[in-house]
Subunit: 471 residues, 2 copies
């Protein structure tokens, strides 16, 4: 059934580009449609984060597609969080006690362009820009597009349609509105929104502040972060409530008020941001949402991947990594399945969703937890004590301990869900033992590690026993 | 501002009728619109459960509205679960060790009619039937209706609109589709659906099986339940997967297959159901969903209540009770607020949602847990051991212990969330101590109770310490 080999991909963002590349490598006929202009030719407007944190799960996907070395040339290593207090004092909180574990700042646009270039090298991959998908007829496996240049609508037929069209996915809307299937769906908004700002390069083209870290100005109910770019600039993001607290997006309506806010809370950052007011009133304020849904596929016809299936908030730096990991998991399902008939595709889609959904649900929840950790807990004494202990464990017993952050970020061969369960149990064990003064910081480190690991196992076991009666 | 006193209620189901009654008692001008015909005059078709379990939270609301005594005349006490095994053997598992704690089977229609009658006694309450709300303009506080008799559309203006129009709420859809607010929303479907069946009265008008219990035929992956009606009949409900397992709604397509299924799994029930095949192919198969959303209100204009704000699955018998409790909580917010200006209403709506949402989220989750408990765990040895121990605690130390079920069902003065947290901690404590053989069933009961309470407190404390670093 050669006919089954025509695959239509909706959305040429990070996930769609990688998917097109990988399916092209596997020999499928791929047509990739994107609503935006070709970002390699046109400056794309802001509103999406300009840089992102690439870590081991994403790099594993780059390896699968044979582009890891090229991608690494775009990367700026970030070894930890550089925490800025109100007075401008800073302290580096490393991401791991193992020196080879770090995350990478990378330009969304550069990475996307690289993946498009690589995909286009395959004769069997064709990419079309300025074509906006409006809806998908998942029963007949056709998609309705609007051509933004000619303003005309047209329908594309395919054997398989995969939607990687992001948080506002047209296919997902068609599932939801079609009422042909029992479609479980959630969208959850935080009370906080975000706005992108910038720290420009130094006059000599260098960096105005420390390059190899993710900077955080955590102020409990809001925060500012900054990630480095290759050109010496930093992309800065303000996370702030829409309408609560003394300062919020709703009442920061004048340059004076914005400057007053930054003066009070982000003094050392403000000194590096003479362009603050311009940025603030030019760039949009955007909401932060989590989307979950199920099922991801309809029969063997259509499938949601990436943000279209599971959009998450950015606080674990895992949105892009999770979408890239989707491609790795999907590739494995292809290896194990028979993508040459409708029944074969249906089995592949089912196997993919069954193995993947619990992990994307987990990273969605972890990302929300991390919002609270980043804006507040990083400044808390007992939290820092926990992190210091974990760094010491990882440094001295690299094979015997990984913190929740390490499990999520640097352990690409275990799933997010397993990382979440073990990581949360560890956190619970350490925090409680610290609160009860059961961990003696003067005691032998190995003794403390054994205590923590024992308590973690007990917590996991107690949860297992209780959970068996819940599901 | 007398003008602020015109309240439009959409939906005259259980919640809307009680709300109209209570707001009528408080002196507001209430216009109550219902899309269905007046159920006191017309036989309403099936598809909704014919009887429901009324328990202490619901009764508290009846007390508030001064109708508790009248409602109790419609009630049939159910003291426990009567569990039917494959061979037709039965055992009664009481709901509580305290004899005065039981739930009540009640006819949805009779209760709804009673509330409508009581509401209509108030001159300031007007009820309109056959008027279907199609959308709500929450900015201008108007609702668009279709009159099912004249087929004409009309718009109603009000100072306040409260939507109690159930799981498919028109106001909720307007919030979702309007995109004026960041509206968090989830709909989650179980893989199981349900179908209503019946056991008819005995020839002498009596009951063909034990009257004062909720009957359960739990078969792990599916189940049958039955609740008594005043006329001697039972309403029977089959909960079964749509498309998985040997028998499912998808493949029960012939009378022979249905009879074969019941013969094999529900032999003793089948003997009482000569009308099974008729019922099975006449009555619809319906899905089981959970709906959560936020915010419930828009400014001081509009508010969602009851299933419109929080639809849940039926397995804790709390859907109606939660909606009635909404009215109690809302009534308290009215007492504490100033319902005489838009700002006053907004403060009331906000206070109501702030105090209420965490509780309705909790009962939604508990109801899903209970699905697994009812269809499977009730047959499990360690689960039964836990329940026996809890019954003994409640019987012998009635002031010192309440099981999760009791906390949820018979303790109307604590919220669902508190009941969930404490109840789950107790379950976890007992199940783990039983698994580890740390509870000696021959030991002094008081000793065991103290052990359980101590372990419960420890679990709650450990969770508190860990959670402080999550939110």
């Amino acid at each position: 059934m050669k006919k089954q080999q025509n695959i239509l991909i909706i959305g040429a963002g990070l996930c769609g580009s990688l998917l097109a590349l990988r399916l092209g490598q596997r020999g499928f006929n791929v047509n990739l449609y994107e609503m935006r202009p070709d970002l390699r030719k046109v400056e794309i407007s802001a509103g999406r984060s300009i840089n992102l944190a690439l870590s081991d799960r994403g790099l594993k996907a780059m390896r699968l597609a044979g582009v890891e070395d090229k991608v690494k040339e775009l990367c700026i290593p970030m070894n930890g969080r550089l925490l800025h207090d109100m007075e401008g004092n800073t302290v580096l909180a490393p991401y791991s006690g193992r020196e080879h574990e770090f995350i990478n700042s990378i330009s969304r646009g550069d990475l996307n362009a690289l993946l498009l270039d690589e995909a286009e090298k395959h004769q069997n991959v064709n990419i079309y820009f300025n074509k906006k998908c409006k809806s998908v007829d998942f029963e007949n496996t056709t998609a309705l597009f609007e051509d933004y240049e000619t303003k005309e609508n047209f329908v594309e037929d395919a054997d398989i349609i995969i939607a990687t069209d992001g948080a506002g996915s047209a296919l997902r809307k068609s599932y939801f509105l079609g009422k042909k299937i029992l479609f479980s769906f959630s969208q959850d908004w935080l009370t906080h929104g975000y706005k992108e700002l910038s720290i420009l390069p130094a006059k000599n083209g260098g960096y105005q502040t420390y390059k190899n870290a993710l900077h955080i100005w955590g102020r409990d109910s809001f925060m500012l972060i900054a990630l480095p770019n290759l050109d010496g600039s930093f992309t800065v993001t303000l996370f702030l409530s829409f309408d609560e607290g003394e300062y919020n997006f709703g009442n920061l309506t004048t340059p004076e008020k914005v400057l007053e806010f930054f003066e009070k809370y982000f003094k050392d950052a403000l000194e590096l941001m003479p362009n603050l007011v311009d940025d603030f009133f030019t760039n949009p304020t955007s909401p932060l949402g989590t989307v979950k849904c199920s099922p991801w596929h309809y029969k063997g016809n259509t499938l949601l991947m990436g943000d279209a299936a599971h959009a998450i908030v950015p606080f674990y730096g895992q949105g892009m990594n999770a979408s890239f990991e989707d491609v790795v998991v999907f590739d494995k399902a292809l290896d194990e399945g028979e993508p040459n008939s409708e029944a074969g595709w249906e089995a592949i889609f089912k196997a993919y969703e069954n193995s993947r959904k619990m992990d994307t649900d987990a990273i969605a929840d972890l990302a929300i937890d991390n919002f609270h950790e980043m804006k507040g807990h990083v400044n808390n004494a007992i939290f820092r004590e926990k992190r210091n202990l974990e760094m010491a464990f990882e440094k001295n017993f690299p094979d015997d301990y990984s913190s929740k952050y390490s499990l999520v970020t640097f352990n690409e061969d275990i799933g997010y869900r397993e990382a979440m369960l073990r990581g949360r149990a560890q956190d619970k064990a350490i925090l409680n033992m610290l609160a009860d003064k059961e961990l003696d910081s003067n005691a032998d480190l190995k003794t403390n590690l054994e205590k923590v690991n024992r308590a973690t196992e007990e917590i996991l076991e107690d949860d297992r026993v209780a959970k068996n009666f819940k599901h």
